[in-house]
């Protein structure tokens, strides 16, 4: 059933107002939109990162639902343990409620240091949803590059200098890696409209077994955008096909958003401070062309996987 904005604006979010995330940060938006479509009680497991640090400054907590954080690289194992306890205690008649389990990790905690733990949890088949709030780098420690950082981005451990133009490598395709675990539900989306995250997470949570949702969210400081542009920049990510929006349901790939026209990648890169150096001189032309070629190739692959064509 489709989610109506009206319904979830009237629901109490599991994450309260008054947390300490930055204005315009996409992570709390992903949490609000993601969790508000879930009907059952939910337990949240969080990897170390901005979301964890900024929502639980002791003796306060911004979480209205049970929440646990242990370390950085282990949200997959953490949610496995909670779910395993739930299954055990339910079998033994000590719990009678239906409870859902959602893990949140940034791209550092998911693409990089937490990949093994996530892979193990997906393979074992626990009933949980893992949400990667992907802002393309290590924001909690000050905008370092991760394996999710886009090619050409200026990050503090891949700075744009006189010789190097920022990060040289293409990000890894974590959503495809998750799909390669043959779990029942995998999706990738961004905050490009008000209901897509809620719908995808709801479906992920309601699907028995492991699910993975990769949500591209802006870090306003790293991306170098005005906080008011959160949704606009996400829409550009989807429209330029930098971040294709799709689902993989029981192995079947399906594009869930097809931009109506061809928008060049510059439209997504130009408004962002982290790519500013790419537009300063001629030397970056080749890199921009490479980024566009990456986007076109990835899009073509997803079209083929989805059995689709695109006429724009």
């Amino acid at each position: 059933m489709a989610i109506r904005i009206k319904d979830y604006t009237q629901k109490e979010s599991p994450l309260t107002n008054g947390h300490r995330m930055c204005p315009g940060c996409g992570a709390p938006t992903a949490v609000h939109q993601g969790l508000m479509g879930i009907e059952s009680p939910v337990v949240v497991v969080n990897a170390t990162g901005c979301l964890e640090v900024s929502t639980t400054v002791y003796p306060f907590s911004s979480w209205r639902v049970p929440w646990i954080h242990t370390a950085f690289e282990n949200a997959g194992a953490g949610v496995s343990g909670v779910e395993a306890a739930y299954v055990a205690l339910k079998k033994r008649g000590k719990i009678d409620r239906d409870i859902k389990f959602v893990a949140f990790g940034g791209d550092g905690g998911t693409y990089d240091i937490g990949l093994q733990s996530l892979s193990g949890a997906l393979e074992r088949g626990h009933d949980f949803t893992y949400i990667c709030y992907n802002n393309g780098g290590y924001m909690n420690t000050g905008a370092q590059r991760s394996s999710a950082t886009p090619r050409g981005a200026n990050a503090t451990t891949s700075p744009a200098g006189s010789v190097l133009p920022g990060k040289l490598q293409k990000p890894k395709d974590l959503t495809a890696i998750a799909a390669a675990h043959h779990v029942p539900y995998v999706a990738q989306t961004t905050l490009f409209n008000a209901t897509d995250v809620a719908e995808k997470v709801k479906r992920a949570v309601e699907t028995p077994g492991p699910a993975f949702v990769n949500i591209l969210v802006p870090c306003v400081l790293f991306w170098g955008i005005d906080p008011s542009l959160q949704q606009d920049i996400c829409r550009l990510a989807a429209d330029t096909r930098f971040w294709p929006v799709y689902e993989v349901v029981d192995g079947a790939w399906k594009l869930t958003y097809k931009p109506k026209k061809r928008v060049p990648i510059e439209e997504f890169l130009k408004p962002q401070g982290r790519f500013r150096h790419l537009f300063r001189d001629e030397n970056s032309r080749a890199l921009l062309a490479q980024i566009q070629a990456d986007v076109d190739a990835d899009w073509q692959r997803i079209l083929e996987l989805s059995g689709e064509t695109w006429d724009a």
Binding site: A71, A77, V82, Q116, S117
Partner: protein
């Protein structure tokens, strides 16, 4: 009815796990503790337990899943050794601070390099400040009994602290010996059910575990763990006596073997203490007042009791199966500190033995006692059985 079986330390520990039938076991194989999860997997596969057995992809994930499952309200057990224990290092203090009462079969093995699969205590000693209770077992019988007893200790409301139940890799874990096993009902009644106070799964009373705590509160929270450890010293004997009532076996914090009137005492832990005790008997037959103090509880360290057990000894040797390279070996440091606080100036010879599974022969103990009796005591650490 209790049974007597020929079994190994690992299998005895696994048998205790079967009888405890915990809610969750998350474990990963590593020599020499692998037999524990293997045996337990067999129990699960044959319906002899209904535990949720989680076959994680690393030790780091094993202990993480144990911590979150225990925070969720489950009774949780696991096992590991050596590098596996080292990989878990990051999560041990979290388990301690979350006050998750995990019972952990730690089968002692040396930490590489050089890589080696045999026994020493370098793995558990590296975790001595992790906020876990450390109990060191002499044999398979004790490993079995301690696994059961540890559930009650870990879950005691004044304690709520995870427990390492240590046994010596290969020597105890793979050695077969007769072990008296309790009947299932006795174990079940002794351990009872876990009654968690703030389970994460109580969705009607949501709790936040693992908050970000800055300088204003961090110190106070750690202080509470110190208090819980002190409580272990207070409540342990009561639980051990209850266990004695059902099993006929009592395990004190410190095993005092002919120490009451001893002039010379060797302090040691785990399996090699049997060798020392044999030599003590030999020497006693010769009229030499020798004794052995086996330290079973290393964390919390029963310092006052240790100092009092060493009573009026004229000389003491402390045998560590671990180095503290550049410092004093762990057990020796504790004993010296305990004696200092008790105002005793007994000469202490610190010795290191058995690293990487090097055998410990009675002759080493004989020579050591002879030297203690002759007052041959050095401030230099002494290495027993080392070729140099």
């Amino acid at each position: 009815m209790s049974r007597r079986e020929i079994t190994s330390g690992n299998w005895a520990f696994a048998e205790a796990m079967r009888q405890i039938n915990p809610d969750v076991v998350a474990a990963y194989p590593i020599t020499p503790s692998t037999d524990i999860p293997m045996k337990f997997a067999e129990f699960a596969a044959n319906g002899r337990v209904d535990t949720n057995f989680v076959t994680v992809e690393s030790e780091h994930s094993a202990i993480t899943a144990c911590v979150t499952a225990a925070a969720a309200g489950a009774r949780v057990m696991t096992a590991s050794s050596a590098n596996g224990v080292a990989l878990m290092h990051e999560i041990f203090p979290i388990a301690g601070c979350f006050r998750t009462p995990i019972v952990f079969g730690l089968v002692n093995r040396s930490i590489g390099a050089p890589i080696n699969i045999h026994c020493d205590h370098s793995d558990s000693m590296a975790e001595r400040d992790a906020g876990w209770i450390h109990l060191y077992c002499e044999d398979a019988q004790e490993a079995y009994d301690t696994a059961i007893l540890a559930v009650r200790l870990a879950e005691h409301k004044d304690v709520l602290t995870p427990v390492f139940v240590c046994q010596d890799g290969f020597i105890t874990s793979h050695g077969f010996e007769p072990v008296n096993l309790l009947d299932d009902e006795t174990v079940k009644a002794f351990v009872g059910e876990r009654d968690a106070d703030f389970p994460l799964l109580d969705v009607d009373r949501p709790v936040t575990y693992g908050s970000f705590v800055m300088s204003e509160y961090y110190f106070e929270i750690k202080r509470q763990q110190v208090e819980a450890m002190k409580n272990v010293l207070r409540v342990y004997d009561g639980i051990a006596k209850e266990y004695e009532a059902v099993s006929g076996r009592f395990y004190p914090k410190l095993d005092r073997y002919r120490t009451e009137d001893a002039d010379i005492v060797v302090v040691i832990m785990s399996s090699a203490s049997g060798v020392v005790k044999d030599v003590v008997d030999e020497l006693r037959d010769q009229g030499i007042k020798a004794g052995c103090l086996r330290v079973r509880m290393f964390r919390p360290f029963p310092a006052e009791e240790a100092a009092s057990a060493l009573g009026n000894a004229k000389a003491v040797a402390v045998l560590d199966r671990a180095l503290s390279i550049g410092g004093t070996a762990p057990l020796a440091a504790e004993i010296k500190s305990a004696l200092y606080d008790a105002g005793k100036t007994i000469p202490v010879q610190s010795c290191v033995y058995g690293l990487g599974g090097r055998d410990f022969f009675p002759q080493y103990a004989r020579e050591l006692f002879t030297d203690l009796a002759a007052g041959k005591i050095s401030r230099e650490e002494r290495y027993l059985g080392l070729l140099e």
